[in-house]
Amino acid sequence: MPDLLIELFSEEIPARMQARAGEDLKKRITDGLVEAGLTYAHAAALTTPRRLTLAIEGLLAESPALREERKGPKVGAPEQAIDGFLHGAGINRDQLEERETPKGAVYFATIEKPGRPAAAIVAEVLEDTIRNFPWPKSMRWGAGSLRWVRPLQSILCILTTEADTQVVPLDVDGITAGDRTTGHRFMAPARFSVTSFEDYQAKLKRAHVVLDPTERAEHIWNDAQNMAFAAGLELVEDKGLLAEVAGLVEWPVVLMGQIGAEFLDLPPEVLQTSMREHQKFFSVRNPKTGRIERFVTVANRETADNGATILAGNQKVLSARLADAKFFWDNDLRVAHTGMGAWTEALENVTFHNKLGSQGDRIRRIAALAGDLAPMVGADTGQAKQAATLAKADLSSEMVFEFPELQGLMGRYYVAASGQDAAIAAVAQDHYSPLGPSDDVPTAPLSVIVALADKLDTLTGFWAIDEKPTGSKDPFALRRAALGVIRLVLANDLRLPLDRPIDAQLLRHKYHASNGEAELRDLIEEIADHGVFGAAFETIREKLGDADALEALAGDVPDLSADLLSFIHDRLKVFLRDEGIRHDVIDACIAMEGNDDLNLLVKRARALNTVIATEDGENLVQGFKRANNILTQAEEKDGVEYSFGADIKFAEADSEKALFAALDQAEASIDAALKIEDFAAAMTAMAALRAPVDAFFEEVQINSDNQVVRRNRLNLLSHIRKVCSSVADLTRIDG
């Protein structure tokens, strides 16, 4: 059985695409071969910056012959139908066979598919793979139309048996497959022939190419660690960088270099970011001081001077890069030491969004909201405002302009350098969090407040200008902001009704968008500060002689506010779904008062979710629904509301009397439990009604001929509804 070796040799393949490309090559080729009847024993893909290589062992020398029988049209069918069948089966008329079947005489065709040699199949499958390769990005070159990740230069494709080696005949847009390849671009550029995978791998190694990316990565990691260790230092682990660097070299040579003393005082994050992003250097740390003191770079060749020229060059490039970073750092510190006024001022001229004003406007709004929120978590209002005002100042710094990924982190350094408390400085870094579902949630009170204010300001802002997410489009990452609000509130166990801050912030946005009609400003601020909507808002509106301006400005705020809250609720459902809480359970809780207090809402939902998973809970919901249905129908029919209160003296059946007692008891327990927000106890008390409710329905007919008894029973059902509804809106539970 032959072995197959394929090498697709091209100009340099991006490091990040190599591993995936190797797997795709393996999958597409082996799938194609198997589909054509060529099974194999083992396949392995290997990649370097210039080659995708696939080695397949134990391939069938030819595909097995196939014999297929097909049933055709009836004898005597129209010529067209018969011709079509012949064409489809690829046979002649005289090869047809007539057979009697229960439905009469029918033509049958026997198709013989002879086996095909592996070479022919490999050529087809490989050409198809090359032409349809799933590169994340591909290109054309020269005057041709073939696409590959970078220009494809040669194809090696051989079948090796014990007897001989055969080149698979294949030509793809002028590139003819052969048995030759080339070694390292600089160290061994001569072309050479190979006879098998073993021969290929051995010759490549002699030609300074390590074919296996894992081997390259291990070599790099071991050498780098040893060098660091020998110097009494430690290598900073970076798996992503290791994989990338292993994809940049065919012959890795590890070199360790010094970082100039003048740069050692830069924040370690700056050193690491600059070295990693720009130079693809590993950082080497002094374990005693935590400082980054050296770097490791990986060259692609050996040299007569043992890499001295290469290392000197890399060191020089790094110095220039770090000189830049130091230039930013020194300039930035100068601004920080003067209190960062120049930056906050500069942010006045930077547009955040053309309808939402400058970054300066935005920061003022966030600070105002942070001030509102501070007392709710027991933080100092002044400090919260101060922290919010400074939290984004680093956006104007030179370091963040150069390395946007350092935003926040630099802010923390700079705010601290400006003489502020560590807690205020931390806000600059923490207030962006949480960014994703697995990102850490801040817990320091000031950080929590500003993080919340930032996200609520973003949400209310884009709601105010009607730029809500639609479908998959969420350019301002509002879903992420809403999830951030949810996680901040829940993780910190905040009791924070959101309705008021949302109203207040919407008003601030609306006020900003109105270009600040001066006479309204104080009034709006007043409303924003005290969060008066509904009746109070109406009163103020009436008291204003000309209420149109206020109406135009703030009339739609309650609607927007409700819409935004419902968006946050939707995100909450997604969030809680991962926790196993049913969406209908959440709906039943959202329908209750106080649903803008997310912690209250979640506590209720968790308790309800637990209780309806029990047999009692599930049956009680059925009982409740039955009671509710009967009652609703009767109320519609009679045109009255049965909420008068049932009287036990009209109760006839034992179960009816028992239900009276059970309801009274449950009501008392539930009320007491709800007062202390013990939803589990409330739910348990409610679920305890299951037995008396079931017994009642079992024994008692509601529609008694005696109207007094009937009315009393309906009022009793109303009591069930009232008691259960004080816990959650059970009508929303499915089933």
Binding site: E11, E12, P14, A15, R16, P49, K137, S138, M139, R140, W141, G142, A143, V149, R150, P151, Q153, R185, F186, P189, L248, V249, Q279, K280, F281, T297, A299, N300, R301, T303, A304, D305, T309, I310, A312, G313, N314, K316, V317, L318, S319, A320, A323, D324, F327, A346, N349, V350, T351, F352, H353, N354, S358, Q359, S396, F401
Partner: protein, 311 residues
């Protein structure tokens, strides 16, 4: 490689001259810089416009380039707001372009046996030109010395055939070859000349002057107005009929319109350096310049050089 070990050049200008000689020997037309402020050699119409259409092309030239945000008052060892790029554009890209390129490094004295040359992924994209291509940044011992790009699209048009574009950052490259640590110390002409000049003698003062102007003084209101004017002029030029009423000839004014696009792009860069453009606005400005570039590309393919055949 087969080339003899090259003698190290002695000055910045010698490196430029060697590149000129090398690419001339490989058949490129050696053009002169474009006479406008541009951010990169790519903006030269010999690249941007000539990459369009099917006519073969091979050109090389030096292009003075300006990136206001990179100004460091001449203090940074290798960052400058005004610098030189060397640009090569060959259409269709020859199959041995990488080898040709490496030959040019040898020509300027880089010994392949001692240095580490790497092709590192860099998908080039110019949002302002509506252009993109795939290729690499070429590293020499960790230093980015060139951009190597196979143009796929320019001004929204597919490039067919594909041009290969090489861009050398001349100062960095020269500093490296000459072993200079600070750009301002680099010999501009031969140090043995009667009047030896360093790069600093030529450019230190201007770097300071422009850095101050770019960052702190440039009148942003005036610049904003100039931007609008260039945009309007570009549109006005392209709105003209293809038939010139005076000469009766078909004259599509792609190049004059493209000049306005270049102008708008540079003004945008200045505004950016002044820090008055926010992240959200940025996209809008870039989109406006791109729209101009696209219209100019549309116009160029209506010209003879762009492959338009008169009936």
């Amino acid at each position: 490689m087969t080339h003899p070990t090259p003698i190290t050049p002695r000055s910045f200008q010698e490196i430029i001259l060697r590149l000129q000689t090398y690419w001339a020997s490989k058949g490129c037309a050696i053009l002169q810089p474009y006479d406008m402020e541009v951010g990169a050699g790519t903006f030269h119409p010999a690249t941007t416009l000539r990459a369009l259409g099917s006519a073969p092309w091979a050109a090389a030239y030096v292009q003075p380039s300006r990136r206001p945000t990179d100004g460091r008052y001449g203090e940074n060892p290798n960052r400058l707001q005004h610098y030189y790029q060397y640009q090569v554009l060959i259409k269709p890209s020859p199959p041995d372009l990488q080898e040709l390129y490496l030959g040019s490094l040898e020509a300027i004295g880089i010994d392949m046996a001692l240095h580490d040359i790497r092709f590192v992924e860099d998908d080039w994209e110019s949002p302002t030109l509506g252009a993109w291509g795939l290729g690499w940044e070429v590293w020499c011992d960790g230093m980015e010395v060139s951009q190597f790009t196979y143009f796929q699209q320019v001004g929204g048009h597919d490039c067919q055939p594909v041009s290969g574009e090489l861009t050398y950052g001349l100062e960095r490259l020269a500093m490296y070859v000459l072993g200079i640590d600070h750009v301002m110390d680099m010999p501009f002409n031969d140090p043995q000349s009667p009047i030896p000049l360093t790069y600093g003698d030529v450019f230190k003062q201007t770097e300071e002057e422009y850095a101050r102007w770019n960052f702190d003084v440039a009148n942003t209101e005036v610049l904003l107005r100039h931007f609008e004017e260039a945009e309007a002029e570009c549109a006005a030029i392209l709105a003209q009929s293809h038939d010139d009423p005076k000469t009766g000839k078909r004259i599509v004014m792609a190049h004059p319109a493209y000049d306005q696009c270049i102008k708008a792009s540079h003004i945008f860069n200045l505004l950016d350096a002044r820090g008055v453009i926010s992240v959200t606005e940025r996209q809008a400005y870039i989109g406006r310049v791109r729209a101009l570039a696209k219209q100019c590309a549309d116009a160029f393919v209506q010209t003879a050089a762009g492959g338009y055949a008169t009936a």
